[in-house]
Amino acid sequence: MIADDLAAVRERERTAISLSTARIAVCSAAGCISTGGAAVKDALGAAVIAHNLSGAVRVLGTGCLGLCHAGPLMRVTRGDAEPVLFTKTTPAFAEQVIAGLPSGVLPLEQRCDLQQPFFTRQHRIVTSDAGIVDSERIEDYLAAGGYTALERTLAELHPEDVVREVSLSGLRGRGGAGYPTGLKWSTVAKAAGHGTFIVCNADEGDPGAFMDRSVLEGDPHRVLEGMAIAAYAVGAEQGYIYVRGEYPLAITRLKTAIRQAERMQLLGHRILDSQFNFRIDLRIGAGAFVCGEETALIASIEGKRGMPRPRPPFPAEAGLWGRPTLINNVETYANIAPIILHGGAHYATLGTERSKGTKVFALAGRIVNTGLVEVPMGMPLGEIIFDIGGGIPDGRQFKAAQTGGPSGGCIPAAHLDLPVDYEALAGIGSIMGSGGLIVMDETSCMVDVARYFMEFCRDESCGKCVPCRAGTVQMHGLLTKMTHGTATDRDLALLEQLAELTTRTSLCGLGQTAANPVRSTLRHFYDEYMAHIHDHVCPAGVCSMNGEDPR
């Protein structure tokens, strides 16, 4: 397909949209699907036919609309009027909405105020297509301006220009470590010879994080477009997306999207009639947290046990099958098309001095508005939790926010005014991580939380290096003793020592960060450790404190 044909598809789709009187978007992300979103969408479809409204009313299954706890969500847009968002919808309600459309009367109940801070304080770049684009239709994505960035790249930009634009944007790796994306791309581009590979890391293993799942389910083409632009920039012809096996819906949607893009010659041979070829294949993970680490991920794509290896050489020089390999996270790729379209400099106007753009967070735990939010970098943590997140339910008190999953730390109330960026979070012993933000109130015991994460790391340690394999087991044992009320000061000293040792001597990121939850809780919640050890009391009342030595 050439650019003119693509323009024709866009035009046709836009005309169809402008001819319709109403667009009804049902959230079709896994959260809303599991509360019955698919049935609501089917009911809408049936009602549209029953009321003879085909053509006038468009029903779409769209990406995550954000308020996951109030699903299934339905967004109704009529002409130029302000959209209306309905929460906790049912098939019967869907019928009611369609029946009211011809007379212009929509139900008053179950409406969600779109002027509340949860919506107004967000800044959407990565998630901008949610509510507008049907996740399973490439035509929708095209009509919303999709693949124009790829068209522009192939027609107007040299690979070096693309890398320069990405460098200019200040975009940093959204997988958690925050390595400058432009720098990574230029390293791979320089190393390139024949057979460079592109990998999209969609092995979102942090418990409590579902940003990448939402992006893949809601807007798979955005990720494919970002990967294609990256491939052009570094001279690659083959890409892999390594998806978590736990995300069956994301896998299905990606397969559909790849097939559609290939059919329209947006992937494959001679893309848009240029000299550029690029294929994408899926690789399904098999449940190993360590595969989020880039060298382990490479081993897994090669069909081996997902065990990391020492770096250097970095994958940028020797990755998949020894070839230069560019590995970025889902959210990083999803940022590429907007950067190319609006320019790196424009992107860099958002955010803080060293962390540019926006970050998607998955809010969960003891918080009123659980769901997906996208905010500019540098927004204070307190604003995310209290203004956007709506604070703590049931009149309880905020105790800690956990970022970065098992590699991150717990942030106490004293740091709620902290601007969220890579450096600020690292400064207080946590990390940005991939974007999971779990809020805890006084019913959570921080020693128990540290034990929980250590159990996770113990189970997920691949066993290759001793500090991680043995250190996590020992630290878990010591923490369990504390939760049973049998630990002594000596155990605490040993725990501190082991935490330091594991951090400094482990082979890969898993081991090097495994002690972060322990270190951050020791730093910010030392009193709780003291209460467990000296007074044999768990202040939150979570730990058994039964005085028995653990198994």
Binding site: A30, G31, S34, T35, L67, C68, H69, G71, E204, G205, D206, P207, G208, A209, F210, R213, R244, G245, E246, Y247, P248, R283, I284, G285, A286, G287, A288, F289, S300, I301, E302, G303, K304, R305, G306, A362, A364, G365, R366, T370, G371, Q402, G405, G436, I438, M440, S444, Y452, F453, F456, D459, E460, C462
Partner: protein, 176 residues
């Protein structure tokens, strides 16, 4: 070690696992290997397919896959035991998956899990002696907005309590 997750079950549901005639399964496995041109690096993909077809991976199956892909049995076994999704033992007729992701943990899935363990005299990862119920845990299903989350067979249930979970598993135990 936490064993398999609900992915396996979703995959099992999507394919045609136990319902496919037994003799067809080997053909389908062969076809999958052929599709990957018997490349050794397709090992994980093939093991996924084998588990979808058979429900679990027995040693004969592992040996067969290894022979076809020209991968030594030690490496096939190594890969099959490394990844949590693969299981070398058959599952019970019903499976209850308890999500132990952080959001679910903060909202109390540990209590639900221990209630289930006590009720059915099971440890997580185990199956009842009559082969009715398997209890497994998962590391976050990404449905954190609905925490605590459990999966009863293929159906995701949000905001579960110990009582509702026990009601479901008891009903399975009573009508096998």
């Amino acid at each position: 070690m936490t064993v398999a997750t609900y992915a396996r079950q979703m995959a099992t549901a999507a394919a045609l696992p136990t319902k496919a005639p037994a003799d067809n399964r080997r053909t389908m496995l062969d076809a999958a290997m052929k599709r990957h041109r018997h490349q050794p690096d397709a090992l994980i993909e093939i093991l996924h397919t084998a588990q979808e077809l058979y429900g679990y991976l027995d040693l004969d199956c592992l040996k067969y896959v290894g022979r076809c892909l020209k991968v030594p049995p030690s490496r096939v076994y190594g890969v099959a035991t490394f990844y949590n999704v693969f299981t070398l033992k058959p599952r019970g007729e019903h499976t209850c998956v308890v999500c132990l992701g952080t959001a679910c943990y903060v909202k109390g899935t540990a209590t639900i899990l221990s209630a289930l363990e006590r009720e059915h005299h099971l440890e997580v990862g185990g199956t009842t002696p009559d082969g009715t119920l398997s209890l497994v845990s998962a590391r976050c299903l990404g449905a954190c907005g609905l925490a605590p989350v459990l999966v009863f067979d293929q159906e995701i249930a949000g905001r579960v309590t110990a009582e509702t979970a026990l009601a479901r598993t008891r009903s399975w135990m009573e009508q096998p």
